[in-house]
């Protein structure tokens, strides 16, 4: 059911773009107003969410570790698995963000015949996740050719590398194939396993369908007969970026579908699970050093409790205690 709702949501978005930009000809709305509005929502949303997270205290010092902690100098400790200094934390974070190190340890549980509970390693999620994220990043950077003039050398270099195999014309990019395979795997992974299907929500399927629709509309404009007029596309982008927006001649409905889906994605981004992009930097289980034996972590929640120490108690009752011949710390 959640799958169908998500699929319907993606189809509805495509229909909105077809009817809005195509049939009704609201190109100004879909080409200028919506991109600006969604970009504003994206920037505002990200900052808002991050600040909101930063305002919540981390009551406990909770780095999750899986290596020897730093203790005596003659015991070798694991710098990346149990970081002690800020530099080591940075190294651990970098591996987490760039290579999803913790997901590499992902395990699966299966109930086999017997009944027998079997635990095993599960690397496919890590592999598909890594393949998807890196492809997405490379595709995003490649798209800079539509957004900047002159096109920087690294965009051209990335394009050449991505089109290394020179198959088809226009050359099929490796990342275009990889991202499609990865997204389909991530989708079927949720559908195939009953346990995963049980706890998958519409919010899990919707981004997958949205990303798939974006990818497919992109393929249609590059590889098939529905080719876009790229000069017009870049003219639109450059107009938006220099705050002199115009709608150039030559933009097709398929381009507006692509643009509208991307607009929806970036507006949806800060208010959905996609915010793990910023969240990964703010996970206290990852970004804290495991140094609680060397440095005191004070709970920011700690209420300033009025205490009456033993010293003060003794000062208050010294005479009485002396008279009762009770032992005193200070005479």
């Amino acid at each position: 059911m959640t799958v169908i709702i998500s699929l319907l949501a993606a189809v509805t978005l495509i229909l909105i773009a077809i009817i809005g930009a195509g049939t009704l000809g609201l190109q100004y709305l879909f080409g200028i107003v919506i991109p600006y509005a969604t970009l504003a929502a994206f920037l505002f949303g990200i900052v808002y969410r991050v600040v909101k997270w930063a305002r919540s205290p981390v009551p406990f010092h909770i780095p999750t570790t899986c290596g020897q902690q730093k203790s005596h100098p003659w015991i070798k400790y694991s710098k990346l698995e149990s970081p002690f200094t800020a530099l080591e934390v940075t190294g651990r974070m970098a591996l987490e963000i760039l290579f999803f190190r913790s997901l590499f340890r992902n395990t699966k549980v299966d109930l086999k015949k017997g009944p027998k509970l079997v635990y095993g390693s599960e690397k496919y999620l890590w592999l598909a996740g890594l393949a998807f994220h890196w492809s997405f990043l490379i595709i995003l950077v490649r798209h800079l050719r539509f957004f900047v003039e002159p096109v920087p050398f690294f965009v051209a270099a990335l394009q050449t590398l991505d089109g290394f195999f020179q198959i088809w014309l226009p050359i099929i990019y490796i990342t275009d194939v990889v991202i499609l395979v990865a997204l389909l795997f991530l989708l079927f992974r949720r559908l195939y396993d009953p346990k995963l299907r049980y706890f998958s929500l519409a919010a899990d399927y919707f981004p997958l369908f949205l990303l798939l629709s974006i990818a497919v509309t992109g393929y249609l404009m590059r590889y098939t007969g529905a080719k876009a007029d790229l000069i017009a596309v870049k003219e639109l982008a450059m107009g938006l970026l220099s705050f002199r927006p115009t709608i150039p001649v030559g933009l097709d409905t398929i381009f507006f579908i692509h643009l509208f889906l991307v607009s929806v994605l970036i507006a949806y981004f800060p208010f959905s699970k996609l915010m793990h992009m910023a969240g990964v930097f703010m996970s206290p289980t990852r970004n804290l050093a495991n140094n609680s034996r060397a440095k005191r972590h004070v709970n920011p929640w700690d209420y300033d409790v009025k205490v009456h120490t033993y010293e003060e108690y003794e000062d208050e009752f010294r005479e009485v205690m002396k008279a009762a011949k009770m032992p005193l710390e200070k005479e």
Partner: protein, 131 residues
Amino acid sequence: MYDAGKVITGIIVFLILITFPFWFNAASGRATYKPDPEIITPDDQCVETAEYMKRNHMDMLNQWRDQVVREGQRTFVAPDGKTYELSLSNTCMNCHSNKSEFCDACHNYMAVSPFCWDCHIEPQETTYGYK
């Protein structure tokens, strides 16, 4: 806010990166630049319409190459009935002899580097004869 220094630095770095196209274009001063491929053709009609060529010339060139190299088929019949020789150097470049002002105008703008000249010899452009 906790760890305000780190969080605000992070937000600023993110905003600088994400707004890269805005400030890059403002700095390069080429935001309003639009390529204007110069057409100096003696004929006033291409093998297909300009609108078709704009989007599909790469497909056509690819088909032409396959037809010539693999099938030995060297004639193209245009929609208007005219026949042309399938040849980049002799047919296309005969009219569009100004590679640097015609081909490269859009290709540079879109960062496209077609591999035509991996096999074909790049045309020797004369400094006279057009413009």
